[in-house]
Amino acid sequence: MSAKIASVIYRKEMLELLRDRRTLISMVLVPLFALPILFGVMSLVLEWQQKEAERDSYIVAVNPACGKMMETVLAAAGFRIKPAAQARRAVESKAVAAALDVTVANGSKQYVVYSDRTRPSSSIAGERMSVTLAAMKEVSVRQSLRGTGISEQVLTPFTVRAVNVASERKMNGLLLGSSLAYLVVLLMFTGAMYPAVDTAAGEKERRTLEALLCSPAGRDEIVLGKVLACATASLLTAVLAMASLVYSYRYMRFGIVPDATNFNPLDPRTFSLILLSVAPISVLAGSLMVAVSLFAKSYKEGQSYLTPLLMAVLFPAVLGTLPGLELTPALALVPIFNVCQIVKEIFVGTFSPAAFATACAANLTYATLAFLAATRIFRSEGVLFRV
């Protein structure tokens, strides 16, 4: 196989791809602008929802049977109280965020807090009302203890203080790593999709393939040139997607992390490691997509053939975002999933070089096998001259 011939084909493919509007959209515009726009809109909607929920969560109903005292305490806690004889119904009809009723159970008074956990404002109101009632209950117990001579200390035999040992970088890394790995891997496949269809099925449809087959270029060299062009498109998509995701994460708030503007996850080391870990995936994406789209005789047919492949990629990519799953030596062999985990661990800063090497080696092996499959398919006359 001549590297020179393959590079001539690669340069031709890249030139053609860079002049194709569809490829440019999937390779540059989508990763660069779609994610910031998506996250920007999400951020605005979340912010608006939070404000709405916060405001509405103070509107509650109290059954007059609960007594004036209860109303006064809740009003002091900031609640705007509406009287309602049927507390549950008031919540169900969305007239109020939460409601308080009183019944008798086992001979003692039982306050019932009604809330609808599917509504953020109702959920917040229910929690807040329960906290207020618990505080009121504690005050009542303390008052009762004062008369008996028992120390109020019995109510607090010990205190609990929770400490998160994860650094701010680690927390940010986990949040960013989970979403970034999944989206980047997915975008790498969509980024390779149009170039693959264009260079394989598109070349058949435009009837330019025969001229190429009649040239001194060997079949393997042609496939190598085409796969490398698709891998480049895939890798470029990954780099742009990473840059835009990190930017979106730093400058757009999602109500999860209060401020991530000082968080700079893409330092040269992290960036190089991520690039190294996703590089075999770009070759895998290019090879698989070229191999599949070779079966198609038109651009449209090629797109239809590749859609199930995207679905197949989605499954291990989603698994990779699940919390609690760790990269064991066996799981490091699972393609797509392993790179999602590795990227997440690189961001968190907990990645193990052994797992990294295993995952990269496994993905490189899959990429090579996919490339060999593509060359085998490209040698098949039945596939190339399918009418």
């Binding site: 084909i9 031709k12 009837r207 040239s215 006359e381």
Partner: protein, 252 residues
């Protein structure tokens, strides 16, 4: 220059079973000769040319081009041929200069020899004025010139042309004819298939009539006339296919 020996090509088809596209095709085409392949649709002309261009692998038999066996060294065979067909597309997003440069590089040209060859071909075919315009934006005639230029960019001794004037208007067809004749004068071996009888009669030194994957007759125009007792190539062709003109069911 081209020596085809009992070329066979069988395709397996779910509906038809094994289909013999070529069933022992043999012929020889020499340097400085225009050799025509004539035959009805599905006769095996395109398959023959594709096998010779090493795009398809023969099921049986072999061929030598410039003394090189198509099975033993297909890469070297492809360096010796220029192939084009009437329905072959072009890289529309590239300019003629980029496309020609691409095929020249695939044929091993680079540096000064690449530039001088590009200048020569672009000048010879009058492409200079639109050499930097995307091929998609060119007229059919201009595209045709680019296609021919691509075929000879590496100055191959053998040209294989599969119905090169199919779908072209008279001026564009004229261009193809002039190209074939000038290539013949420079000593190239030209093997071409066509449906246009006048074109074959005008250009071909020898003709092979192919039907159902076999060569049914071969010779110069005079030899074919004396074989059939007909004058015009159209009549000769129909007689060789066993179809008499004006007979019931004859091809009009």
């Amino acid at each position: 220059m081209i020596q085809a020996d009992y070329l066979a090509k069988h395709f397996k088809d779910r509906k038809r079973g094994t289909f013999k596209a070529l069933d022992g095709v043999s012929f020889e085409a020499r340097a400085g000769e225009v050799f025509g392949l004539l035959g009805p649709n599905g006769a095996g002309k395109t398959t023959t040319l594709r096998v010779l261009a090493t795009v398809l692998k023969p099921t049986g038999g072999t061929a030598r081009i410039g003394g090189v066996d198509i099975l033993r060294d297909p890469g070297r065979v492809r360096r010796q041929i220029g192939f084009t067909s009437g329905d072959m597309g072009q890289y529309g997003r590239l300019t003629p200069l980029e496309a020609l440069s691409f095929f020249a590089r695939l044929n091993g040209l680079e540096g000064k020899s690449l530039r001088s060859r590009l200048d020569d071909v672009i000048g010879r075919f009058g492409i200079a004025s639109y050499a930097n315009t995307k091929i998609d934006k060119l007229s059919t005639g201009m595209k045709q010139k680019v296609a021919i230029a691509r075929t000879v960019i590496h100055d191959p001794p053998v040209l294989i042309l599969d119905e090169p004037s199919s779908g072209l208007d008279v001026p564009a067809s004229r261009l193809i004819e002039e190209f074939i004749l000038s290539a013949k004068q420079t000593g190239k071996c030209i093997l071409f298939s066509t449906h246009i009888m006048e074109e074959a009669e005008y250009l071909c030194d020898r003709i092979a009539v192919v039907n159902r994957g076999r060569v049914t007759a071969m010779g110069t125009m005079d030899e074919l006339r004396s074989l059939t007792g007909k004058q015009r190539l159209r009549e000769v062709f129909l007689a060789l296919l066993g179809i008499e003109e004006n007979a019931p069911g004859a091809v009009a």
